[in-house]
Symmetry: D2
Subunit: 147 residues, 4 copies
C-alpha cells in the first residue's frame, strides 16, 4: 500500500577508503542526502527560514547495518520509507542495494526544531501539510512486521 | 572493575555544518578514530599485513544517539569500553561528553577479517593475545545493566 | 572552437560549515568528481584494472581561487576544460558558478600512472585514443589568453 | 631568522582512498587545521564573536603540490610559515613531510572578515596585536628565495 521514495547515489572516490570500498561513515551522509531529497520532493527543505528563526531537523539517532560492500563508481539504489511520524519527529528507514544485491540498511530519527538566534533548538510540531505528504511514504505496518 | 579507554578529539571547522555544530556523521569517524587509538594502545593496528593477506576489521553495524551539541574548537572527551568479545567480533561502546556534559553515545561492532588479494573478506578468530588485552576494557556486566 | 564539459553538483548539508557556506575543501572533491564524470563521458574510468596492475591518475597539483560563496542546496554549474595534454599528464580547468554568478575557479594536474601490486605508481603514456577524446575539450589557446 | 610553527597530524582511515593513500583533498583540511592551531597558539581563534558580529577568515585561494604519498596511521609533520601579511590578509606556506621525506607543500590565503548577521562578509584590517604575533612566523625573504 505504501510507496517508497527512491533515489540513487554513485560512490565517489573520496568516499572510498584504503580497503577499496565505500567507508562505513559515508552511508550516514547518503541517508541524510536521501532524506533531504525526499523533503525536496515533498516541496520543502530540511532548512527553512521563518523571519529570524530557522526551522530545521536535527537528528536524535542514526544507525546502520552493513550487509555487503560497494566500490568506487558503483551506483547505490536507495529506498526511503517513513517508519513513524510523531508529534515533532520522523523516523526514516533506508535500504541500500547495488544491482539488486543488499548492501546496507539504516534508520534515522529527525526532530523538527525551531531555532531562534542565540537560542538552543526547541522541538516544534511538524506542519500538518507536511505530515499529510509524509504519510504517502509511511510503512504499512498492519500487514508486515517492521524490518 | 573494568577500565575505560579515554581519548580526546577537538571539533575541526570542516566537521561543523551550517547549523553551527559538529555534523552528526562526524561522530562515526570519531568512534572509528577512538577504536583505532585503542588498538594502537594495545600494541596492534586496525590494518595488519600478514604476507599477501591483510587482517582488518570491517564494521557490521554502527549507531549513535545524540544528547547534545558541540561547536567548533570544543574538545570532546571520548570514553571507549568493550561491551562484548565474540569469536571474531568486538562490540564497542562510546560515550562523548564536553566539560562533563553528555553529548552522544554510540556503539560499533567490528569483525576481524582476513582479506586475501582478490577475495572477499573472510571472518577469522581474534588472536588470543588481543582478546586478553581487550578484556581490560570489558564492561563489568555482572554488577550493572549494560547502557 | 573547443567544447566544455558541463556538470552540476548540489551543495550537500555535510559539505557546509559553521559559516553557513560550502567548505573551501569541498571544491576539491567537486573538481575530482567532475574530472571523473568527464572520463566516464569519454568511455573510461579514473581507475582501470589491467590484469594485476591498476591504471589510475594521482594528482600532482590542485588549486582553487574563491570568488563567491554557495549555500546548502544551491546547485553549482561546473565547466571543465582541458588546458594542456602532456605525455602522461592532463591539466584541467574548472569554473564554478551559481545561477550565472561566478563562485570559484580551479586547476588540477593528474598524471596517468600504472601501479603494479606492491610497487609505487609509475607514470605511463596516456593511451592515444584517450588523448584523441580529451582534445575535444582542449582550450583553444590560439585565440585567447588562458585564464 | 624566522620561526616555523610545527604541528603533527596522523592520517586517519576515513581520509584514505581506494588507492591506499591519504586523499589529495585531505591536505586542504590538514592546512586549515594547522592554520587554526597556529591561531590558537597565538592566543586567538579563527572564529571570534564581537557582539552580534563574527570575525572570521574566509579563504580566497588554496593550492597544494604533491611530492609523495602517505598511508593510514602515518604521522605527518607540518611546518607552517607566514609568507606575507597584508592589510587584511595573511598568506601561509605549509610543508608536509613524513619521517623526513617530503610529501607535499601548499599555500593558503585567508582574509580577515567581519560578518554582521544577514550581511555578506566584509574584509576588515587585522588587529595590530595579531599582526605583531604573526610576524614571529614571517618568512625571512631577505636571505632566501621564497619557495
Amino acid at each position: 500500500m505504501s510507496e517508497q521514495f527512491r533515489t540513487q547515489r554513485r560512490v565517489e572516490f573520496c568516499e572510498t577508503d584504503a580497503a577499496g570500498i565505500a567507508h562505513f561513515s559515508a552511508f550516514f551522509t547518503y541517508m541524510e542526502q536521501a532524506e533531504h531529497a525526499l523533503l525536496r520532493e515533498l516541496g520543502t527543505s530540511v532548512v527553512r527560514h521563518e523571519g529570524e528563526a530557522v526551522v530545521s531537523w536535527p537528528r536524535v539517532s542514526a544507525s546502520c547495518d552493513y550487509q555487503g560492500m560497494v566500490r568506487f563508481e558503483q551506483v547505490l539504489d536507495i529506498e526511503v520509507a517513513v517508519e513513524r511520524i510523531g508529534g515533532s519527529s520522523v523516523a526514516y528507514q533506508f535500504r541500500f542495494s547495488h544491482e539488486g544485491r543488499p548492501v546496507a540498511q539504516g534508520k534515522m530519527v529527525s526532530v523538527c526544531c525551531r531555532i531562534e538566534p542565540g537560542q538552543p533548538p526547541k522541538s516544534t510540531p511538524i506542519a500538518p501539510e507536511l505530515v499529510a505528504r509524509l504519510r504517502r511514504f509511511l510503512v504499512d505496518t498492519s500487514s508486515s512486521a517492521s524490518p
